[in-house]
Amino acid sequence: MAEPALATDLYRLVALVRAVELRLQQHITEHGFGGFWHPGIGQEGVQVGAATALRPDDYLFYAHRGLGYAVAKGMELTAILGDLFGRVTGSTGGKGGGTAHFVDPSIGVLGQGGTLGSNFTLGAGAAISARMLGTDQVVAVFFGDGAAARGTFHEAALQASVWKLPVVWICENNGWALSAPITEQSPTENIADRAVAYGVPGVVVDGQDALAVHAATAEAIERARAGGGPTLIEAKTLRIRGHYEGDRQQYRTDLTDGVEIPRDPIDLLRRVVPADVADELDDRARAEVEEAFEATLAAPRADAGIVFEDVWA
């Protein structure tokens, strides 16, 4: 039976991320959206469970599937939404818009590769820094089952293992890489089976169970911090909606209705979190999200001059 404080904390964040996901969905249906939004609804258990196992000063490279990673790591909703809606309040000061590249070095949120798979080498590099500067920071690298096919994983994983770098790879296996089912991407049953090639532990965990993901990640982080090297965690989850909001998914065979979430991480957490507490957290989450949305949509867009800024340090 999990430590109740933790379960409650995870619930708070999962509920908050869920509320943003639903609010964004609603906004896009009503008003459309500049650029692409890759909904992460249903995958909050992985994102929150893993990110909360990190220390504030640990590093995080997130994936494109939603925003749970950054929220759970501690970024302000307004900073994230500001990037999504191209407002000066965004963490990138208005350069964002659509698919987000939110960032907050003060809490280790370092970005995501627009080209999938960049996270692997970048993450290993951040781990080298941590070691060189004598800190005990750990780097968490999120990626999908599809991104796992990139050669950058192989190059980074071999070197990170040989050097015992403090990296934790967290694969969100949601069964699909855009229109490609996992069966066409992986010759083995689990992505985690690949850990053998790199001489690192490979762990398969239920991605719908935030507590299980948290525990598996915490263990990997502890090992990495202690100098034990990387771990490959595969969290099994499911892509509930289209690749991007609006994707008609005609290619999809296991079509979900986009609403119902099998083994919803919320339901699983509610088994350990008292209903009244959970209900109240739901209300707070919705309120927080409404407030952040209003603030964001009211915020100004960056003026044209911004396009010339920040090329050079």
Partner: protein
């Protein structure tokens, strides 16, 4: 009523979109030659992220229309190996920017392996590259990289600006025994225009198209900038400034003769592309114009291109980084005054 003659057939056109014209070229060439096949991410079951390859999996099957995983080095390197061994791969990278992920395979293998091996290998590969700015795809999904290919001997480079050229140039690319980088502009996929229905509509490489004639100046534009330049030209015409607009259509080979002949008449040249201005294809074209037409020029050759920054993610901001019709018009007005 008698059946249409071959000539009538060849002359016949239909108004379709740029993406659909590409789709037709692919289907026709795959029907014509069963050594032609495709691979890329989501090109089969989904019909491509931009819908360009819709229906091809159903018609040609999963052997000839292959959905790959996320492995750009495999997509291009695999195509190179397949081309060396008797088939004709037409592969898609989901965004032109990704050619830098397969940089070794494109710039070292496709471009050089015939030469390195003394002509013993042939690499008939077409790499389809959805290119350019559209809807805030961001810095790693919006770049125009054709100049890098132009700087690499061994690669042919096409940039269709119309549905008709999209079909005709792609068919020429597929029939070409050399590797071709085929830059399809994402912002043009939905533009419609007349396209010859004939499956022998092949637009030869190395022949520029004069999109508009004029005597005040010569505007050389590629891809998305062809339309914007024509727009600018119409506004200029309102004030009696007649611009000649030339679309090279392919950068390798490059039809400089048509460009130089035009500049010798107009005495002024403005080169426009969406790619970053610095060290872009426009630099080469401008340099060659002044090399070959120096004494005909009344003014320096000017260039317009993207500003010296990466592209911002925001759909509105990104447009501020590339030449607009208004900027082309303004530059032309200033240039003719020199």
């Amino acid at each position: 009523m008698s059946a249409p003659t071959r000539a009538e057939q060849d002359a016949a056109t239909e108004v379709i979109g740029y993406a659909w014209a590409i789709n037709h070229a692919l289907a026709e060439e795959m029907r014509r030659d069963d050594r032609v096949w495709m691979m890329g991410q989501d090109v089969g079951r989904m019909g491509g992220v931009f819908g360009v390859t819709r229906g091809l999996l159903d018609e040609f099957g999963s052997d000839r229309v292959r959905d790959t995983t996320i492995n750009e080095t495999f997509i291009v390197g695999g195509a190179a190996g397949a081309a060396m061994t008797g088939t004709i791969p037409v592969v898609e990278l989901q965004f032109a920017d990704f050619l830098l992920i397969a940089g070794d395979e494109i710039f070292h293998k496709l471009a050089k392996w015939r030469y390195v091996h003394g002509g013993n290998l042939t690499l008939p590969v077409v790499v389809r590259l959805p290119t350019g700015v559209l809807g805030g795809a961001g810095a790693e999904h919006s770049a125009s990289l054709e100049a890098m290919a132009m700087h690499t001997p061994g690669l042919k480079v096409a940039l269709p600006a119309t549905p008709s050229d999209a079909k005709g140039l792609l068919k020429a690319a597929i029939r070409d025994p050399n590797p071709v980088l085929f830059f399809e502009h994402k912002g043009l996929y939905r533009t419609k225009g007349p396209v010859p229905v004939s499956d022998e509509h092949v637009v030869p490489f190395g022949q520029a198209a004069v999109r508009r004639t004029g005597d005040a100046l010569t505007i050389v534009a590629t891809g998305l900038m062809v339309g914007r330049s024509l727009e600018a030209a119409e506004r200029l015409a309102a004030d009696g400034i007649e611009a000649e607009v030339i679309d090279p259509r392919t950068l390798v080979p490059l039809d400089m003769d048509t460009i130089v002949a035009s500049v010798e008449r107009t005495a002024r040249a403005l080169v426009v592309h969406e790619a970053v201005r610095t060290a872009g294809a426009g630099a080469e074209i401008a340099a060659q114009i002044q090399e070959r037409a120096f004494f005909s020029l009344d003014a320096p050759v000017w260039r317009l291109g993207a500003i010296d920054t990466p592209l911002p993610q925001d759909p509105e901001l990104e447009q501020l980084c590339i030449p607009s019709a208004a900027e082309i018009e303004a530059a032309a007005r200033e240039l003719v005054r020199i």
